[in-house]
């Protein structure tokens, strides 16, 4: 049963990693604006696509 020391240490360590990640994400401002990013992620490539369309049109 000595393995329990290792297992628990690992589990606490994993939890600590998540805590660290949480603090890091708060610090980076992820929770400051909870709306805009949810919209922003939907438009990423559209500008490029449109430009391509346009250049295609022109080449036609």
């Amino acid at each position: 049963m000595g393995v329990i020391y290792i297992l628990i240490c690992i589990s606490v360590f994993v939890a600590a990693v998540f805590l660290y990640l949480f603090i890091k994400s708060v610090k980076s401002g992820q929770f400051d604006d909870q709306y805009t990013p949810s919209v922003r992620m939907l438009f990423d490539d559209e500008l490029k696509k449109k430009k391509n369309n346009k250049s295609q049109k022109q080449s036609n």
Binding site: M1, I4, Y5, I8, S11, V12, A15, A16, F18, L19, F22, I23, V26, K27, G29, F31, D32, D33, Q34, Y35, T36, V39, R40, L42, F43, E46, L47, K50, K51, N53, K54
Partner: protein, 791 residues
């Protein structure tokens, strides 16, 4: 009905423009579309239908941005050629807005990055000052319909750091709570197993290690608050909270070091976690609204000074007595002044809520706060900005003491009874058990303090208030913070402003008085006023029935007097009584436009403020519920008769109230023990709103500016005021019921504690169960009351 592809406004039939198979209402909208399509940005129109705004002519308006001093005040950051500016753009309203504004770099290569914070309607722009100036960026934004709003408030308002401490603390508390809970399970469920005896020390010491950051870091707000409250000799709820946390931790240490048990570390961390999340819930704020506005958010940052016939932009604070200023269309007059131009039309809707612009003649005094409507005018300042009639109001002490004013909340009152009671029970238990053994007496004392830790009591208010704020927000009453709800439930005197609050500053009634006008004559009037840009002409044009639009044969506008025109066979003169040489017998309070057709005066159109719908019913409902009602007005008593018919019988009407008078009036009511709720709208109510127990400012559009207040009410929800008052009262009822529930939990817990039977397991069960039931109870009840409260 056709709508403009860009801005969605209705297209007037013979003004329609077609471009790219799309229909536009005006050249401005079409230009924006062209600009976007040239740059491959037409996706703008895909996210949202008709997302745009008609671009306004802003050419000269932003000339002050050439002044390096002013620009440097506006910038957030500046190093070398890289500059960062944050601008407030009121038009931001949909995903298309975010998209186009974050693609600004395609429209101007000097902009390297732009980022929108939607909830605050702000954009942060990073740009290279060598390729593009701030003025160019602002003009670009204005030209695509996103004109930024720059006011005196931006002047030395550096960005505030966001306080993220609470989130860190919650993270740490949850980390401790979750892990300790898991590590405690083996002990709870395998009490007599052999292996637990071997490993329990490992579990326990690990628990202490995990609880340390929660005890020393996450719980600090409670220690601090308890310390302050002891110093102020007020028993607030945080004293038993802090005491509970400290006792739990110390008792756990003693238990573990003396091999006496597993301690209460899991309960302690859980308690801290739940309490902190309660704080987070209570923090619900409306980012897009501002409750702290003073005149600075209305006033421009710079004005155009006329010096040796040249126009120079200067900062508003540099205005001195005698400075000549030029005020353009839609610009705000920042200082008391004398008009030098012939005529001006000043729109005071910001200040008084009056919808009709006031006509001023050369030499008239103009008070700060009005907006010029029409052509540019020249004025001479008679004061500096801070000494103006309106701005002086802010030097009243009400505005200083406001932030430090602390209200006693219901939680505080409950804890004034609870805390001494708890301490005496703990003490009695200690005395009683000390006859048995000192060890037991110590256990009982700590157990009482642990189990009675007023977790459920302290959670009730934040969760109820948090939920009520959210529910009221859905119904268009936006509260500044949770303390307002309690005040709302206590209000017994309601004071209404008249102009802009009981009347709408959006709509006004236009009535025709005089000889009947035929259809053809009306058509002639409509076609004549169509050519005029005078605000009254515009309103009259909108008011008159639809008809064919033709160009009049003759059209001549005489500034400050009226319009002369020939339409078909009619010869018309439309304008003021003076000009038409009519002696007006009635006292002139109303705004009138006279109509003369073929040299014969037919009658006049009178512009009246329109009262909101449902006022009569509103006042009757409020009277039935025994509220004392008052109406304050800055105007004279010309409208007393009309008003009398609308409001309930014993409503007091008070006229001729200057801003300071309104403030004194509220103060006087309060000195008679009244809890005053003031509902107003303009800057002239700002003092009264600040002085009253709760100030609600009413707004046709919550995104535009409202004076500092405790709550902002959307004008559409005006008739729901009785509902909100009833709801607030019911919310208080919910809290009281929840307190009974919390106390009954405490009695169960105390009976365990006093009989020295409180095991860590019992504590670990009671604490989360009571928390969960209290939270769900108040959420459910406030939800039910939100539906059931009478409107």
């Amino acid at each position: 009905m056709l709508n403009c592809y860009h801005c969605g406004n209705e297209i007037i039939e013979n003004e329609m423009l077609v471009f790219d198979d799309k229909k536009f209402c005006c050249k401005g909208c079409q230009t924006v579309y062209e600009l976007f399509s040239d740059n491959g940005l037409t996706n703008y129109y895909d996210f949202e239908k008709n997302p745009g705004a008609k671009p306004k002519d802003a050419d000269a308006k932003f000339n002050y941005l050439e002044n390096a001093d002013i620009v440097s005040k506006l910038l957030d950051f500046q190093e070398g050629s890289t500059q960062i500016v944050r601008l407030y753009i009121p038009h931001i309203h949909c995903s298309s807005c975010i998209w186009i504004l974050e693609n600004l770099n395609t429209l101007n290569s000097g902009i390297s990055q732009s980022q929108v914070v939607f909830s605050q309607k702000k954009i942060t722009i990073v740009f290279n000052s060598e390729t593009v100036s701030l003025k160019e960026i602002v003009l670009l934004l204005a030209s695509i319909g996103y004109e930024p709003y720059i006011s005196l408030e931006n002047f030395d308002n550096k960005p505030k750091l966001i306080d993220r401490n609470l989130l860190y603390k919650i993270g740490v508390a949850f980390f401790g709570f979750g892990n300790i809970m898991l590590l405690s399970f083996p002990e709870y469920f395998n009490v007599n197993d052999y292996w637990i005896h071997q490993y329990k020390d490992f579990f326990r010491y690990l628990n202490i290690f995990l609880a340390l950051p929660v005890f020393l870091y996450s719980a600090t707000p409670y220690y601090i608050s308890a310390y302050h409250s002891i110093k102020a000799k007020a028993f607030n709820i945080d004293i038993p909270m802090a005491l509970g946390i400290i006792v739990m931790f110390l008792r756990s240490l003693v238990d573990i070091f003396f091999q006496d048990g597993a301690g209460f570390l899991d309960s302690m961390c859980g308690l801290v976690f739940f309490m902190l999340s309660g704080k987070l819930i209570q923090q619900t704020t409306y980012n897009f609204l501002s409750f702290e506005r003073d005149y600075k958010s209305y006033f421009p940052i710079a004005v155009t000074k006329i010096e040796n016939k040249a126009e120079v932009p200067i900062q508003v604070y540099e205005i001195e007595k005698g400075t000549h200023l030029m005020i353009r269309n839609e610009e705000l007059i920042p200082v008391d002044a004398v008009l030098l131009s012939d005529t001006a039309y000043i729109d005071y809707s910001f200040v008084t809520g009056e919808a009709v612009p006031v006509e001023k003649k050369s030499g008239d005094k103009i008070f700060a706060g009005g907006k010029q409507v029409g052509n540019a005018i020249v004025i001479e300042a008679v004061n500096s900005v801070s000494q103006s009639y309106l701005t002086q109001l802010w030097s009243n002490e009400v505005f200083q003491k406001r932030t430090s004013q602390k209200l006693k909340t219901i939680t505080d009152r409950a804890s004034r009874i609870f805390t001494p009671a708890l301490l005496s029970i703990a003490f009695i238990g200690f005395i009683g058990w000390s006859f048995v053994s000192f060890n037991d007496a110590f256990n009982v004392l700590t157990a009482v303090l642990i189990v009675a830790c007023p977790c459920a009591l302290a959670l009730t208010a934040p969760y109820t208030w948090g939920n009520v704020i959210r529910l009221m927000g859905k119904r268009k009453l936006y509260l500044k913070n949770t303390a307002v709800i309690e005040q709302l439930s206590k209000a017994d005197a309601l004071v209404f402003d008249k102009t802009g609050t009981l009347t709408s500053n959006k709509n006004q009634q236009i009535k025709y008085v005089g000889e009947h006008l035929t259809k053809e004559e009306l058509m002639a009037v409509k076609n004549i006023v169509r050519g005029s840009n005078h605000p009254l002409s515009r309103r009259l044009y909108m008011f008159l029935p639809e008809c064919n639009i033709k160009k009049p044969l003759l059209f001549n506008e005489i500034a400050g007097k009226g319009i002369e025109g020939v339409f078909e066979e009619y010869h018309l003169r439309i304008g003021s009584a003076n000009w038409l040489e009519i002696s007006d017998q009635l006292v002139v309070h109303d705004t009138k436009v006279y109509i003369e057709i073929d040299h014969k005066v037919k009658g006049y159109f009178v512009f009246e403020n329109e009262y909101r719908k449902g006022i009569k019913k509103l006042f009757e409902t409020l009277k039935d519920r025994n509220y004392q009602l008052y109406v304050l007005s800055g105007d004279n008593n010309g409208e007393e008769k009309t008003l009398r018919q609308l409001v309930s019988v014993d409503t007091q009407l008070v006229f001729n109230q200057k801003p300071e008078d309104k403030l004194r009036f509220i103060e006087n009511l309060q000195s008679h023990g009244k809890n005053v709720l003031m509902i107003g709208d303009g800057l002239n109510d700002a003092g009264a709103l600040a002085q009253s127990n709760i100030g609600i400012s009413i707004s046709e559009n919550v995104n535009v500016f409202t004076p500092a207040s405790d709550a902002i009410l959307d004008a559409g929800a005006f008739t729901k005021i009785p509902y909100f008052l009833a709801f607030a009262k019911n919310a208080m009822k919910t809290i009281k019921m929840s307190y009974c529930l919390a106390i009954s939990y405490n009695i169960v817990g105390l009976s365990f504690a006093l009989s020295n039977q409180l095991s860590p397991l019992v504590a670990a069960i009671i604490m989360p169960v009571s928390t969960a039931t209290i939270i769900s109870f108040v959420t459910l009840m406030s939800g039910i009351y939100a539906k059931k409260s009478k409107g």
